[in-house]
């Protein structure tokens, strides 16, 4: 399948959700949807054959927004496997919650949990919200991947 063709196809599928579809040659397609529509968009992508999520990335833009990116692709359809579809959504900085996509893609179980643990994003409907995954059980404080969490550094001089 051609890049442009697939991009057009996806655009057609998710247009009524208020999605912005853009592309980066040769194989990355970006789909940006508002957070209320993210589950619906994910379902439509899954029905097109994008059956698993490879990575869930949350990015912190301090005092502005959080961006959550689901990098999905296909295992069952090897024509689609070449393409990566990034489903993106923006969350307001003071209210980082979004619906979990666990029902659509079971493969996000640990990835969403990790972003919750390290970035402090709440995925509603995920059964393990509030539990720790990688951090120690008694960890308290700012989620470490946020920009306001500072790691100490040393200069080049001793």
């Amino acid at each position: 399948m051609k890049f442009e063709e697939l991009k057009g196809l996806i655009e057609e599928k998710v247009r009524d959700l208020g999605a912005e579809v853009s592309g980066k040659e040769p194989n990355v397609i970006e789909v940006k949807v508002p957070r209320e529509k993210v589950v619906e968009a994910a379902m439509r992508l899954r029905d097109m054959g994008f059956d698993h999520v490879k990575a869930v990335t949350a990015v912190d833009y301090p005092n502005e927004r959080f961006e959550v990116v689901y990098v999905s692709s296909s295992y069952s359809n090897l024509d689609l496997a070449y393409f990566l579809v990034n489903l993106r959504t923006d969350l307001p900085y003071d209210d980082p919650r979004m619906p979990s996509l666990l029902e659509v893609w079971p493969s996000v179980l640990y990835q969403e949990h990790e972003e919750h643990d390290l970035m402090g994003i709440v995925f509603e409907g995920h059964p393990r919200m509030g539990e720790r995954l990688l951090l120690p059980e008694n960890y308290e404080g700012i989620p470490p991947l946020r920009k306001e969490f500072k790691v100490k550094t040393e200069g080049i001089n001793a």
Binding site: L135, P136, E137, F149, V151, K152, T153, E154
Partner: protein, 174 residues
């Protein structure tokens, strides 16, 4: 002061005297050197992999380097071991487990910190989740490297044996 007619004092004294005699005996030259020789060649590390240096620790127990030649046999239960090998990074969660394992080991016990992470955190020195083993355990030998070569592991074992046989590490007191 305890009353001299109290029987328990006699027993206490007897036991103390016996312990003293035993300590005197095992610290005497021929027995002491025999004991230290025995300890030096039966260093059993507990199988406690803390991080990725475990891959090289595995390689040093494997055919090419075969550290079993030094009487160094990785063992499963901490109750039967006397060496704790910190194989790389000690995260906060793991540090708790390391202390438990160390406390379960019988005396005399030794700690070897393997890899840059096990000394000062290595490339992860400024990570928020890393603990330096020397802050929580008495470390006897450090092996630099990331990961150290299996030869360095062997060298550390030989150095530990040397130190044990010099009689600095193991003392028996009443």
């Amino acid at each position: 002061m305890v009353c001299a007619l109290d029987g328990s004092m006699w027993v206490g004294n007897l036991e103390k005297a016996a312990r003293k005699a035993a300590a005197w005996l095992v610290n005497k030259t021929p027995i002491r050197s025999l004991r230290e020789w025995g300890i030096a060649f039966s260093l059993w590390p507990v199988h406690f992999t803390t991080a990725c240096c475990g891959a090289e620790f595995g390689a040093s127990a494997a055919p090419k380097f075969d550290t079993e030649r030094f009487g160094f046999l990785p063992f499963i239960a901490s109750r039967q071991c006397n060496v704790l090998f910190i194989e790389g990074t000690l995260s906060k969660k793991m540090a708790e487990a390391a202390i438990w394992v160390y406390e379960q080991m019988p005396d005399p016990k030794f700690v070897i910190a393997m890899g840059a992470c096990g000394i000062d955190g290595g490339i992860f020195w400024n990570s928020y989740n890393v603990v330096r083993p020397k802050d929580i355990l008495p470390v006897h030998v450090y092996i630099p490297g990331c990961p150290p070569r299996p030869e360095a592991v062997a060298q550390a074992i030989i150095m530990l044996q040397r130190k044990i046989r010099e009689g600095e590490l193991v003392t028996y007191e009443v």
